[in-house]
């Protein structure tokens, strides 16, 4: 059993307060919550909304049909009404809305005004919403207290209560498991994973939708003792992280596409100097500035081939809030073990999705630094020693008395000294590229769910995981022998399951949040396999499970 509600209004009207507190209340009660955001690139005005889906079992995607719309303005009412279920309701101020009997009008503004602050209309709406679901408002008062400064608290709590009184209960809530779960979004989960992995240096430059990751790190910097810096630009952000990593601490940077573009040269620097580095690219639609606050999966081929020359790297697409934590933590170990840059590909959708998530098991996180022992010699360390597996011993400056270490962006000899020698060049290229082979052994195969022998195989990556998961469930309920393969580790491309299921399936369809079908290209490039159709969306709004389900059912793919 589940409900879908939408809270909408202009930027600055306080949608965030309503949704945040409502979600926390539900999660605290033991419900499963899945909330996703849609907002414009402006600070005030325009139209923003949050969709909250919740129920008594895990939820994997947002959903198009609504039980309740909380319309803080008229636009919300007009824009989303067509998605309201026949038995749904709209909650709004008395000043708007028509005769539709599904509209519940309450004097949001008047109540707020009468309490001395018209800006509290949203809190009134929150109170009313809680009541509609028959939820005790006590926890919400605590959250209001946390959220607001002293002087605003009393008013807001009154507003909450008056809203609560203004309507009567209409929904029956299911029983809850009573489980204690966390409610976290993709960027927070990613940041928490980084902190768990012992990331001690985070430098970045603000860029939506990666800013909240940086903000998360900044918020906990003092508490965890790490260093977080807003750099002057993305170039400084990544180069300084490389410096920190060279000097021995775990370092990370995060950005979105435009910032990643500026980091490309230094990505190669990490590659050739063999400096571990974790880079989060939280994708948004391009090209260039594109749609700053929206979502897309269109940087895949870019990050795989970014930077001049050839060097090993790993790309991990984050699929959900579990991945965002565990894979981020894993990325640091991989970066250290192979001395490579590891790119985490996230996107706005995932970064902003707040989902009820099983508490992370910190015992599963192991920090492995792979430092070399003290060498038997003094002086210059053989940082780029030729070894059979391509991995050279690594130490940090001053780690051992009388041993020092040089890193270099040119082709270099085993000591890191510039070299133009043919044999050294060949050996160094091979040494570095050998790590690519080792990486292939490390890969986590994509998740597969669905029929054991699928006739229809959907292939996706990253944040379409949840929507695909639910879509497959629906398709199978309709008797379709479908399955989906969703990539997390994506470069190098794991191929075992891919070859297995492609062999079985009659029809292969790639499902991606971009125009050109980048994963499909990558799969053809790596295996020769061609998809037979594509379900693509590139308007900056994430496809939901129903969208995929419907596209499959209606054969709506090209």
């Amino acid at each position: 059993m589940e409900y879908n509600i939408l809270v909408g209004g202009a930027a600055g009207q306080g949608i965030e307060t309503v949704s945040d507190i409502f979600e926390k209340t539900l999660n605290g009660m033991g419900y499963y919550v899945y909330s996703s955001k849609d907002y414009m690139s402006r600070v005030k005005g325009g139209h923003n909304f949050t969709q909250i889906r919740f129920g008594d079992s895990p939820i994997y995607s947002h959903w198009p049909f609504l039980d309740l719309i909380i319309a803080l303005d008229e636009k919300t009412l007009n824009l989303h009404r067509n998605r309201l279920k026949d038995d749904g309701y709209i909650l709004c101020d008395i000043s708007i809305g028509d005769e539709d009997e599904r509209i519940i009008k309450i004097p949001l503004m008047n109540i707020a005004k009468s309490l001395g602050n018209p800006r509290m209309a949203n809190t009134v709406a929150l109170g009313a919403t809680l009541k509609l679901f028959g939820i005790n408002y006590e926890p919400a008062t605590d959250y209001l207290n946390e959220r607001f400064a002293e002087k605003l608290r009393e008013g807001n709590i009154k507003a909450l209560k008056e809203g609560y009184e203004a309507v009567s209960e209409i929904y029956t809530m299911p029983k809850t498991s009573g489980e204690k779960n966390i409610l976290i979004n993709g960027n927070e989960a990613c940041g928490l994973g980084a902190l768990a992995a012992g990331c001690a240096y985070y430098s970045a430059y603000p860029m939506t939708p990666s800013t909240s990751l940086m903000r998360f790190m900044a918020r906990y910097a003092e508490k965890t003792g790490i260093f977080v810096e807003q750099a002057e630009d993305e170039i400084a952000a990544i180069n300084s992280a490389i410096g920190a990593s060279y000097a021995g601490i775990r370092a990370m940077t995060g950005t979105s596409g435009g910032g990643f573009s500026l980091m490309v040269e230094a990505l190669g620097l990490a590659g050739v100097t063999e400096t571990p580095l974790v880079i989060a690219n939280v994708q948004r639609p391009g090209p260039a500035t594109g749609l700053s606050t929206r979502t897309e999966q269109s940087d895949l081929l870019f990050v795989i081939s970014a930077a001049q020359g050839e060097f090993p790297r790993m790309v991990i697409a984050l699929r959900n809030t579990e991945d965002a934590f565990y894979q981020t933590a894993r990325a640091f170990n991989l970066a250290d073990e192979y001395q490579i840059p590891v790119i985490l590909l996230s996107d706005e959708y995932l970064s902003d999705c707040r989902v009820t998530t099983k508490p992370y098991d910190f015992d599963k996180i192991i920090i492995e630094r792979y430092w070399a022992e003290k060498p038997s010699y003094e002086g210059m360390f053989k940082r780029y020693k030729l070894t059979s597996d391509g991995i050279s011993p690594r130490i940090f400056p001053s780690q051992y008395e009388n041993v020092y270490v040089l890193a270099d962006s040119h082709e270099h000899d085993e000591y890191g000294h510039i070299s133009e020698d043919i044999e050294i060049r060949n050996n160094m290229v091979r040494k570095r590229m050998k790590k690519m082979e080792l990486l292939k052994e490390e890969l986590i195969e994509p998740d597969y769910f669905g029929a054991e022998k699928p006739e229809l195989l959907l292939i996706g990556w990253g944040s379409t995981y949840g929507p695909l998961y639910e879509a497959i469930k629906m398709l199978r309920e309709d008797g379709i022998e479908a399955g989906a393969l969703v990539f997390g580790d994506i470069w190098p491309l794991p191929q075992k399951k891919l070859l297995h299921y492609c062999d079985i399936a009659k029809k292969i369809i790639n499902v991606e949040q971009n125009y050109t079908g980048q994963l499909a290209s990558l799969i053809t490039q790596q295996t020769g396999i061609k998809c037979h159709g594509s379900i693509l969306k590139y308007d900056g709004r994430q496809m939901d499970s129903y969208f995929i389900y419907k596209a499959v059912k209606e054969g709506d793919y090209r």
Binding site: K223, A236, G243, A244, A247, F396, P397, Y400, D408
Partner: protein
């Protein structure tokens, strides 16, 4: 020199007579005289002739990208504040491609010493004008002369209240050493602009050209006076002041963070996943 722990016997690819030789000698002596050891120093650079320096000295080192030495140096210093971190890079590297990092590291006052080998030319790429090349000077790229006014690094650094701003000349080892020492000892970002003749590509600003024009700031000069320093910074041409032109006392970047200031260097700390577990509590 043979006893200098920083001395490294290697082939050096600079042109014979290049001003860089003087700088590296002075640097090695300075480091040694300060009682430092190669494993406690980090020589950071970008790309250019000057930027090859980390290859010619015994020390930890990071030879990164053109224009990006300062961010790397900052990362290194933050990771391990016990290291003495210095940058050797050219005028193109430091004031051209890397200009933005210069601005913002002065603002930070990160405890890094920046030695700019200012030969007023792009050496490694064979003689193009650099940000400090004189207006109208003909170069291998500017056939009709340079059209942009030269960048004044000293005035610039003073305008942003840089904690240590000095100039020296690669033809005077003792002066260089004195300046290098003071620069390294300054707890904060130190800019040392070193007049360095490029014997191959800069036929205007030769050893003699500098020699004939430099004059030494003496004890009567107060580097803490910003307005006076600014005046000094504008002197160029017939008389070029060398010495410490400006200083100001302020906390270094790391010392502005309560949790870093008196703590162990980050690299020496033990990091445990449990460090983060408490934070998860906030998400229930």
């Amino acid at each position: 020199m043979r006893n200098n722990p920083f001395h490294f016997d290697c082939e050096i690819s600079w042109c014979p007579g290049c001003g860089n030789f003087g700088i590296i000698e002075a640097l090695k002596e300075t480091l040694d005289e300060l009682g430092l050891k190669p494993h406690n120093t980090a020589a950071i650079s970008g790309i250019g002739q000057a930027a090859k320096l980390p290859h010619y000295i015994k020390s930890n080192g990071f030879n990164g990208l053109h224009g990006r030495a300062l961010p790397v140096a900052m990362g290194v210093k933050i990771a391990n504040k016990d290291l003495v971190v210095f940058v050797n890079s050219g005028d193109g590297d430091s004031y051209g491609e890397g200009g933005n990092h210069l601005i913002h590291n002065i603002r930070r006052n990160i405890d890094v010493t920046h030695f700019v080998h200012n030969n007023q030319i792009y050496g490694l790429t064979k003689g193009q004008g650099s940000p400090t090349t004189e207006l109208n000077q003909v170069t291998t790229m500017q056939f009709d002369g340079v059209k942009s006014a030269p960048f004044n690094p000293i005035a610039f650094a003073i305008s942003q209240d840089c904690s240590f701003v000095a100039r020296t000349f690669s033809g005077d080892k003792e002066h260089m050493k004195a300046m290098m020492k003071a620069a390294i000892q300054n707890k904060g970002y130190s800019l040392l602009d070193i007049l360095q003749p490029c014997v191959t590509f800069n036929k205007v600003n030769t050893f003699k050209w500098y020699k004939d024009r430099i004059y030494y700031l003496d004890d009567s000069y107060d580097p803490y006076n910003k307005e006076e320093a600014f005046k000094k910074a504008l002197e160029w041409g017939d008389a070029i002041p060398i010495g410490i032109i400006y200083r100001s006392n302020k906390p270094s970047f790391i010392d502005r963070f309560n949790h870093l200031k008196d703590a162990e260097p980050l690299v020496k700390r033990k990091w445990s996943p449990m460090n983060a577990k408490a934070i998860m509590e906030e998400f229930y």
